[in-house]
Every structure is written in structure tokens, then in C-alpha cells.
Symmetry: none
Subunit: 193 residues, 4 copies
């Protein structure tokens, strides 16, 4: 927690500590109680904040969840092992491990996007980021001649991401990341290597 005992007004301007405390509280609740515990009341209480403050920072629950997810996911740097299939496998492994804990949150955002256009737009943008993150890695693989000729790198990137999300949604985060990587990347790899 960024502030322990109490947090008061800091005068006639918003107090960023409040927003932090709210996100911290939400994260803690998610860890301890799961999705069902992630209510606006509980978050505010946990943060020793008021719902007024919560709604001053985010227009609705979905926006808060998204902010929470973005803050928690951290950077999406992909490794460079020299082998695309290994890069993908390691990413799947890392992402699945993360999602074991908070994949629910991501699913919930998907749901929230149905009622809230703001969340929906943010989700669309988020997808694009994830896909774009892959492009440099894929270009290097292409330079190493790992890929079939004329491979559509964006399509491949999207496929990688789509499969990750698909496995999250269908609750198969326990799958072997290496096998999944092979299945997804396989057809894009040059045969005679």
C-alpha cells in the first residue's frame, strides 16, 4: 500500500495517492478473493477510499479494471533465443503463468467491453499493441530464414496472439507452451532446415 493509515485531501486538487491506493487495493483483492471480490464497494473499502474518489478517477468499473490490468501486465518484451519457435514458447509460458493468476481479469475486461465502448476501444488498441510487439521478432526470424517465403508477418503475429487469448478463454492455461508454439508456428516454418 502506498499509504498506510489514512489519506486526506491535499487541497483543491486530486490526490494521485488515492488512485494508486485504489489500484493497489483492487490488485490485492483480485489476488485474495478472485473476480467476485472485485466490486467497487470492496475496492473502495480496501483502499480506505470513498466510491466518490474511485469514480472521479475512472468513469466506471470497466475502466478501472483495464487500468489495473495494464498496470499489472508490465512490459511485453519478447526474448530472442535465436529460434522463433522457442521465443514463442517462452512467451506462452510466461503469459500463461501470469494468467494463471489474473487471466480472469482479462476475461472480465472482454466482458465489460460489451457494455462499455470505452473499454472496448481500449481493448482493440491493446490487441494492436500486442500484435505489433511481435513484428520485430518475426522480422529477425525472417532474416534468419526460419519462415517460409512470403510469410505474412502480421497474420502470423495475430495468430500467435489469437491462440494465447483463445487458450485463456477456454481455460487451457495448463497446456504445454512448447507444443502450442509448435502447432501455431509450425506451418509458417521453412521445411528444409
Amino acid at each position: 500500500m502506498s499509504s498506510e493509515v489514512s489519506r486526506r485531501s491535499i487541497g483543491a486538487r486530486p490526490n494521485p495517492d488515492a488512485a494508486d491506493a485504489i489500484l493497489d487495493a483492487a490488485a490485492s483483492l483480485l489476488q485474495r478473493k478472485g473476480l467476485r471480490g472485485l466490486t467497487t464497494d470492496a475496492i473502495a473499502r480496501e483502499a480506505r477510499a470513498s466510491k466518490t474518489t474511485l469514480y472521479r478517477w475512472w468513469p466506471n468499473r470497466g475502466a478501472l479494471l483495464l487500468a489495473l490490468y495494464v498496470r499489472r501486465k508490465g512490459s511485453s518484451v519478447h526474448e530472442d533465443t535465436g529460434s522463433l519457435i522457442q521465443d514463442v514458447a517462452r512467451t506462452y509460458e510466461r503469459v500463461f503463468r501470469t494468467w494463471q493468476n489474473e487471466g480472469q481479469l482479462f476475461s472480465l475486461i472482454i466482458a465489460e467491453a460489451q457494455h462499455d465502448d470505452g473499454v472496448a476501444e481500449a481493448l482493440v488498441a491493446f490487441r494492436k499493441e500486442r500484435v505489433d510487439d511481435w513484428l520485430p521478432v518475426l522480422r529477425r526470424a525472417e532474416e534468419r530464414s526460419e519462415l517460409v517465403d512470403g510469410a505474412d508477418l502480421e497474420a502470423l503475429a495475430e495468430s500467435i496472439v489469437a491462440h494465447a487469448w483463445f487458450y485463456l478463454i477456454t481455460r487451457r492455461l495448463g497446456s504445454d507452451p512448447a507444443i502450442l508454439a509448435a502447432r501455431v508456428i509450425g506451418p509458417w516454418l521453412r521445411k528444409n532446415r
Copy 2:
């Protein structure tokens, strides 16, 4: 509606008419009022059923929504145009058109699955069905030598489904089905054809 005026017990066993009437009512409400009108109270009232009956058939609202979705989507017979890429494109076209109206319902089910294990299981089973639906089509394509040697048909089937869901979630149902099909299937197709 399967029965108009009244519907009574048919003895010491569930009356399928009741379940039908409830699904009919839910479908009608979805059409007329949208997702927000799909409350258990409203559905029961519309069906002239009691909530007891509704909850006898489905353990919670999510399960009912899934049943509704499954029933509405109809059979998933894939066409056989003699060209896999066209088969996939046509399916995407059909599915996206359906989802334009009730994709929300499906997204909602995904969300509901996060805090309801029953719905989650049903969703997992649903995925398997969708994937299995594709296998015969893919086998025929293989016999026609459309696919690269040693193609993992199940992986391909899963990829087809994963992309569809991914596009739904990221709100890109307006995308060109043919282009998407080409991107998904492309790398699995034999080159020298």
C-alpha cells in the same frame, strides 16, 4: 411458441416443453429488448414459467444464455465448395453475420464462464465441438491434396476457430471473411497448386 395457453406438469419428470418455452421467451426478449432485457425474471414471466422451473433446467443465468446461444446458432454444417479456403471464408462470413446480432451474447457467455464453472465447462465443450466440426472438412481437403504434407488437422481446426473468436472479441466482425480465411489457412496450403 411450443405451447400457447397453459403448460402443466407431465408427471414426475421434467417437461421439455417448459425448457423450450423458456428458451423461446429468452430468444424473443433478446430480439426485442437486447441483452439488458434478458433477466431471469423477465424470461420466466415471458415464458409463463416459474423461476423454479428455469433454475431446474439451468443452474444459473449463464448456463441458460449458453443454451440459448447453442440453440440459436443452429447446426454448424460447413459447406463443401471443393476449396478449403472458400469453405472457411463462407463459414466466417456466416458466423460474422450471425454475430453482428448476437455476438454480445457469446461474449457475455465468455465473461460468465469466468465466475461460473458450469458455464466454463460448457464453453470448453463447445469449443471442442466447434473444432471437431471442422475435422471432416479438413480431411477432405487433405484428400484433395490441398494441404501441406503432415498437416496437423486438429491444430488447423483450432486455429480457424480461434481466429473467429478473436475477431469477435476485438470487434472486427466487419472484416473481409475471404481475406481473413486466406491469412489463417494460407500457410497450411500446398504451394504448387
Copy 3:
């Protein structure tokens, strides 16, 4: 239980065993679960009877409760110790002890009487019986010159019963029966004795 394993039709006429079993079951449930467990569903299940049978014997829940109470209360013979105040005290003691277990049932009947005229009538008749039961005892006390001159025996009888019911309703069954008897009877007793 009057019948152990199963109880079938005995032809084209009601089977009294069924009614017995239902009352037995109700009594057992009341003992074990209290008033809240005394639902028509639970009684039927406990009796291995069907609700159809239950409602064949009694038109509604109130009637069943009343039958149960009447059967359980047994005879209301009052003792004759030679002292009215002792007679009353012993009766209060016995009745309060009984009500410790099933006074709730009696209160429930009072409630049921509000919606059901049949139960109401039965309750009125029941009061009259209780009052009349006291008259012989009071007459003997009068002959022993225990009472003030010109005592209205019916009024006294009613007062005795009214106080018992009042203590039941206001949950004071733990009161000392002798003290209560003295308070109720006191003013009716001749002083110089």
C-alpha cells in the same frame, strides 16, 4: 413410523396409514427442525408420502398443523390436589413444559387462523374446550369455599387460559408456574382462610 419401507395403494379407497405417517413425520420434523422445517414438501418427503396424499387428507397446511396439535396435546385432565392454586400451578407447569417443545406450533396455528377461516373456527372451538375443562375443577373449589362469594367461574376459567396463552406468545414459558398461578387466582380467593 407406522409403516417402514413402502406404502402402496390399498385399492379404490384412502389409506389411513398414509395420514398417520404424515402426522408422524410432521411431529418428528417439528421436534428435529422446528417450525421452519415444517413445510409441506418436507413433511411429505419425510413421510415417504406424496403431496397429493397430504392434500387429500387436509385442505391446506393450517388444517394439518391443527390436526397435529390436537393429536399431540393429549387429554387435558386437570389434577385435583384439594387446593385450586396448586391445581392451576401444576397445570401451568405441565402445559409450559409441553409448550417448551411445541408451543411454536400453537403460535403458528394462531397465525394460520388469520388466513384460513377453517383454522380460525377450530381455534375458537379449541378455546372453548380449554375453558370448559376448568369448570368442574372450579366448581369443586367453590364447594370447598376457596373462592370469594359470587365468583364468575367462567370468567375465572377464561382468565386462567388467557394467561397461559399470553405467556406462550410473549415467550415467558420459563416463568415460575406457582407464582403465575398465585397472581392469576389470587384476587379470586377468599381472604380469611
Copy 4:
């Protein structure tokens, strides 16, 4: 109604207007629809209050009914005619007249008290209040030497109340209040007056 159009939060503390509005609504419903119309949903709707608010003020329906009864019965000031028997008679007359309309409500509370400890406690307290109300009146009668020597005033007060409740329960509100008063008070009165 204490507030007509809208009623909002008045800060971080309960708004008594809400409770008032709820009781008003309940009273109105009782008048118009009778006991069966007195559902928590209907009361909340009529009061333009939320069920949350209703249950914030009273733990359950029974408690609300009791509050309603207490408020409606008004003050229990007993008249002082200079004659105890007349005071009692007039009170019986007034109470019986009131109960003609809402005795059901009181009976229902008695019933509710059987499976709700909160209501039970309230009912017990209510009895004590009613009994205590009588004590000043009885003391004045004693000072006027109306009562026999050494009369237990509390016992007498309780007897007065017990008989009233008894007559309510056994549906004899049509009885002559003067006769009843004479029967109840008679033995407590000094003879040679």
C-alpha cells in the same frame, strides 16, 4: 408522505425520511390491499425506496410490520374517568375498534415472532410497555381505594392486557367491552363501595 418527488442521500448517515416514507407506504398499502399486499417489494416500490434501504432500517419483514403497528396504534394514553372499570372498558372499546381493522397485522406479528428472534424480542418489549402504561392508572385507582388491599398492580395490569390479546386471537372483538372489563377487573375491586 413526508417527501413527495425525490429523496436522496443526506450524507453518511441514515435518512429518517426514508424510514418514514416506507412506513407511510406500508400503511397505505395495508389500507388499500390488505395484508397480502404488504410485500417488501410493493412497500419499497410504493415508497420509491430501495429494498436495501428498507432492510437497512428493519432486519426483516416482521420487524417492519411491528414498527408499522406501533406507529399506527398511536399513543396508549388511558383515560381517567375516575372509575377503573370504566377506564378499562373504554380502552377495550378503543382497542377492539382499532383491531377490527388491523388486528390481523398484530396477529401476524405474533406469528412472525415465532421464527424471528428480533420480532420476538420486540414483541416482548411491546408487552412490557403496554403493561407499564397501565400502572399509573392503577395507582390512582388504588389511591381512590377502588382496589382490594394489597393488590398486585402489575399482575392486574398484565391481566388486562392478556385478556385483550386473548380476545383478539380468538376472534371475539365484537364482545361488549364493558362486560369484559367487569369480568377482568371484578375480583380486584373492593366490595363495600
